[in-house]
Symmetry: C2
Subunit: 190 residues, 2 copies
DNA sequence: CCACTAACGCAACGATCAGTGCGATAATTT
DNA sequence: AAATTATCGCACTGATCGTTGCGTTAGTGG
């Protein structure tokens, strides 16, 4: 959304300001509670004038959405281990590891609280990544579950535990999740 | 937490104020974006002086947690249809129906964004309810899945879709979820 | 029925925030 | 290289927020 403006003139300065502001948001969320995430505080941390932030992003909610989408897009590489199980275990394990970081969780929480579209922004391109993994398995000739089902039973429990439950969602647990899901998927298909 | 004070003197007025403030929070969240949920605004809507809210709850985050816990506790009756499938379908369907309401979603989002404990507050006594359903099935002599697994694969996808994905989590879909989960659970146990 | 005290309303204060012209700077174009 | 224009910094304003001290109201117990 803001990229439309940034692409008009992406010369060094705008990009620097954008990076500094993004970094300041992540940094502040890691330290202070979410309600302390005010525009003047962000601007001060980023070494930028508050007016700049007001003009470029308008509100803290839009800024948070911008930070989340760029933070959660392209952050995890889609693996290619040769098997569906290996790909899913590797990928979901990486996603789970990312969700282990308290700072990452703070960003997700704040983004969700910023508006109705905050949750989607936190997913980034997770669904595209999952779809790519499943598509690759099909191109191998293997039988793979539906993307929607995989998202529901893999990403669902993972994000549920990370956000709602107090239980930590470790990388090992994510691998168990994949095993359980694939076994159930096989059993039901037969 | 605040109940400890309220129980000291729960005579009419305190309870009235508490109810009015809770109602005002839900009402404001349904209309304005979350960042407009300021103490003076809540107090004005509740017909109460801002000082009162500051003194009783301290911050908007604690107030939101209080509202969420009392909103999501005891709001769904644990059914007793005679079968595990029936109980789960009925119960998860009710939970899903509740999550269909945009105002409810707004409350959940804001509560999550208010702090690390916000997510747990939004669950209320869901896990206790689920545990009660499963315990009852076991007391009938039936074989029921683990509570943790049920929470992961039932509540997980449901809340994931409601908060992160843009897809609506309807009551019908919740019933399908129960069927899929129980079938997979049976297949893996055999 | 009366004393007691918790809870609330009121008024004021300092601090901070969101927003607005205007000039300066730097990237882009001709 | 010069003109152009998007972007940023600065100074200023109005509004709102969070907080505190004090008086008043209304439940609670003797």
């Amino acid at each position: 959304m803001v990229d439309a403006q940034a692409q008009v003139r992406p010369g060094g300065r705008s990009a620097k300001v954008r990076a500094a502001v993004h970094h300041a948001v992540a940094q502040l969320l890691a330290e202070e509670p979410a309600e302390a995430l005010t525009i003047p505080a962000i601007a001060a941390r980023a070494g930028v004038h508050p007016t700049t932030v007001y003009r470029r992003w308008g509100s803290a909610a839009q800024l948070l959405g911008d930070v989340a989408t760029s933070r959660f897009s392209g952050d995890v590489v889609v693996p290619d281990t040769g098997t569906l199980t290996g790909d899913l275990e590797r990928w979901l394990g990486d996603v789970a590891t990312d969700l282990t970081d308290p700072d990452t969780l703070a960003l997700i929480r704040a983004t969700i609280g910023s508006g109705p579209d905050g949750g989607c922004a936190c997913l980034g391109d997770r669904h595209e990544q999952l779809s790519a993994i499943i598509e690759r398995e099909r191109s191998r000739g293997g039988r793979a579950p539906e993307v929607e089902h995989a998202a529901d039973f893999l990403l669902g429990p993972l994000y549920y535990r990370a956000i709602f439950s107090a239980q930590p969602a470790s990388s090992d647990w994510a691998r168990e999740l994949v095993a359980t899901f694939l076994a159930a998927s096989e059993a039901l298909a037969a």
